[in-house]
């Protein structure tokens, strides 16, 4: 596991970081598209977004520091105050809240002695934790859900949540219930900047709830209809060509619907 690149001795950004910021901007047809991952990279290096980091992005992208700051303040994952070794998120959107997320969040605030968006004080021999209630993290079938450094911790209880944060503080190795060994917040921010950390093959492909429907279908012999590939009637390409022959009428319909139909989706 590679550590996040170091800062220079005076606390400034290293040449290596500048090189990576340029590298990120170069992934896109227009450099400014790199801003979100560039800010993730800065968080991995400095533990937050600093005024110096904002200036660096502004210089590289040729925009004002105010424009960069406007972006930093818009997105909740960017932190202007130092984040602890572990960012612990508790989902308190309605479904998780009802299923126990509210009770978990209350218990953790009390147990850690901090409020929302606060960090436990630096204590020798202990890792620090930043606690935050988060919005729906797309794991509702595993409610109540917590996130540690944006890795899933599924089906939590107040009891398992307090044990989890105690283990984190003691520096024990923790595995996500649907993911890898949990890295530090800074290491994870580097992945979000587009630099893989080698943990991709850890953890399962899917958790138990993701497989419930598939399991029932297999048990009962339910499948999608047989395809032409399995039958005698021809290859998929033939089917698509046949489908293409019906194009004229559908195109005419398209044009009439063009004005009325545009929506998200």
């Amino acid at each position: 596991m590679t550590e996040a690149p170091p800062t220079t001795s005076d606390g400034g950004l290293s040449d290596e970081t500048f090189a990576e910021l340029h590298e990120i901007a170069a992934r896109y047809p227009e450099a400014r598209s790199g801003l979100l991952p560039m800010l993730h990279l800065l968080q991995s290096v400095q533990g937050r977004v600093t005024p110096e980091g904002i200036e660096a992005c502004a210089d590289i992208l040729g925009i004002s520091a105010a424009e960069v700051a406007g972006v930093v303040t818009f997105y909740t994952m960017y932190k202007r105050r130092p984040v602890g070794d572990y960012h612990v998120g508790v989902c308190t959107n309605t479904l998780c809240a009802v299923m126990g997320g509210d009770a978990i969040f209350e218990r953790l605030k009390e147990h850690l002695g901090i409020g929302n968006d606060e960090t436990t004080p630096e204590t020798p021999g202990q890792r620090s934790i930043t606690l935050e209630h988060v919005e729906c993290n797309a794991a509702c079938d595993y409610a109540p859900v917590m996130m540690v450094n944006w890795e899933f911790m599924d089906n939590m209880t107040p009891q398992s949540a307090t044990e989890l944060v105690d283990d984190l503080r003691e520096g024990k190795e923790i595995r996500s219930t649907r993911g890898p060994r949990i890295a530090t917040w800074r290491e994870v921010e580097r992945v979000l900047a587009g630099y893989p950390d080698g943990r991709v093959d850890e953890g399962p492909g899917a958790g138990p709830a993701s497989l419930v429907g598939l399991g029932i279908a297999r048990e009962r012999g339910w499948t999608a209809p047989a395809t032409h590939e399995q039958g005698p009637t021809g290859s998929p390409a033939d089917t698509a060509t046949e489908a293409a022959e019906q194009a004229d009428t559908s195109r005419a319909e398209t044009e009439t619907k063009q004005e009325e139909g545009h929506q998200d989706g």
């Binding site: 509702c140 890795e151 890898p180 339910w222 290859s235």
Partner: protein, 435 residues
């Protein structure tokens, strides 16, 4: 008549190392890509149109038609952008799909980009799911190494580059024009339309933006044919979709079924509502779709029938709440979410969601008055249809629908001088006394 469950996208999720290219190819992966590369791009668009596939991100706009809007005579580059910013409360299908089978998405990206003649594609994944980001990054790298991406793909002369882009925490970036702003390195605030993204999207160039599940469905359509896809589902809502059951059911999880399946069938498959309890209310497609009740258990879950029942199919995010759940508390929490996530660009949404929270808080803690219900409905009336994008509209859905079905419960809070529900009773660990 198709089977009750029809695993296609979810079919290989239980395989050993399901996310690896070798596993995906062993299961027939990237064969549809080779088929597609031998087709004329317009014929792929036609096949997707004929399949009847409608956007799986919530709005249900026909995918092939969206592709057909791209002006091919426009001299600018064309772009495909995948909306993987899954954040609608209750929605939890794209995240497990990308974690278990990222190559299904990547293959869909290549075929779809080829169809619309894009040489660049972007997968915009919300940042708060780092393991999913890892899996998609690795799948893209594997696809490059295998020649499924890059220069002259499989000798076709077609080039495609894909960038995996992590967001940074903003529900609004699920709105397609706000997503484009985020992808351009700006605050994620929606754009005025027209011009639509098909004409002036990313970098003011023709752009298709599709949901993960929509794009992931494309290989199966190209591989098996439009008729095969259309043989599932209902008259105007064709094909299969992932239905996500969460909350107070015995076995929450992902159930892939033809559109038109009912909640009664799905809850039955899920082992019923939590033992000893009964269904109180549910969302058909996330918190932005008006809530429904037990009287809607037999509504076919397709675009038309759910709309007929006064709600929206949305993302098939079926959040199930039993009788221990306070509807006022639930709606207040969703409203706080909309207030937090309002991008601030337009007044009805920015100010309106603020005031909705004020009034709902008083109602939940019993300090409001009956006339506050009228105030709430009036506020909703001033947001719905007047906000810049669908976020404001969505914020009103849980409020107006809950007052329609549970007006008495709101009033009960007032006569009771506070919430009459024990929050412990609704938790997963209620039996253990919320330890």
């Amino acid at each position: 008549m198709a089977d009750t469950l029809t695993p296609v996208l979810t079919a290989d999720w239980a395989d050993e190392q399901s996310w690896k290219l070798a596993t995906y190819e062993r299961n027939g992966g990237y064969r549809a890509l080779r088929t597609a590369l031998r087709m004329a791009p317009d014929d792929i668009i036609t096949a997707v149109k004929d399949s009847g596939l409608r956007g799986r991100g919530g709005a249900g706009f026909p995918t092939g038609m969206k592709w057909g809007f791209i002006p091919q005579d426009n001299p600018n580059p064309k772009y495909l952008v995948v909306n993987a910013d899954e954040s609608e409360p209750g929605t939890c299908k794209d995240i497990p799909l990308m974690m278990a089978s990222p190559h299904t998405l990547v293959e869909g990206v290549v075929i779809s980009s080829f169809a619309i003649r894009a040489n660049r594609a972007f997968i915009y994944i919300r940042g708060e799911v780092v393991h999913v980001v890892r899996r998609v990054q690795a799948a893209v790298a594997e696809a490059y190494a295998a020649g499924h991406l890059g220069r002259n793909i499989h000798g076709s002369g077609y080039d495609l580059d894909v960038v995996v882009h992590a967001g940074a925490g903003a529900y609004i970036c699920g709105e397609e024009t706000a997503l484009l702003e985020g992808l351009e390195g700006r605050r994620g605030q929606p754009r005025l339309r027209p011009p639509f993204p098909a004409v002036a999207g990313l970098y003011a160039s023709p752009t298709v933006i599709n949901n993960v599940e929509s794009i992931a469905s494309v290989p199966s359509i190209v591989g098996n044919g439009a008729e095969w896809f259309a043989s599932m589902g209902t008259e105007k809502s064709k094909g299969f979709g992932i239905f996500s059951l969460s909350g107070h059911v015995a076995n929450p999880g992902q159930y892939e079924a033809p559109l038109g399946v009912t909640l009664r069938t799905l809850i039955d498959l899920a082992g019923g509502v939590r033992h000893g309890h009964e269904l109180k209310f549910w969302t058909p497609g996330g918190s932005s779709t008006p809530i429904l009740t037990a009287e809607h258990l037999d509504v076919p879950l397709d675009f038309e029938a759910v709309a007929g029942a006064g709600s929206m199919l949305g993302t098939r995010a079926l959040q199930i709440f039993d009788e221990t759940t306070c509807v006022v508390r639930s709606v207040l929490r969703w409203t706080e979410f909309y207030k937090h996530e309002s991008c601030g660009k337009c007044t009805p949404c920015r100010e309106g969601t603020y005031w909705l929270v004020q009034v709902l808080t008083k109602l939940e803690n019993g300090t409001g008055q009956e006339k506050d219900l009228g105030v709430l409905l009036d506020q909703c009336d001033n947001i719905l249809g007047r906000a810049f994008c669908a976020l404001g509209d969505g914020a009103t859905s849980p409020i107006t629908s809950s007052i329609e079905y549970f007006r008495d419960e709101y009033l009960q809070h007032l006569t009771n001088g506070g919430c009459p529900f024990d929050p412990v009773a609704s938790t997963l660990f209620a039996a253990e006394g919320a330890r």
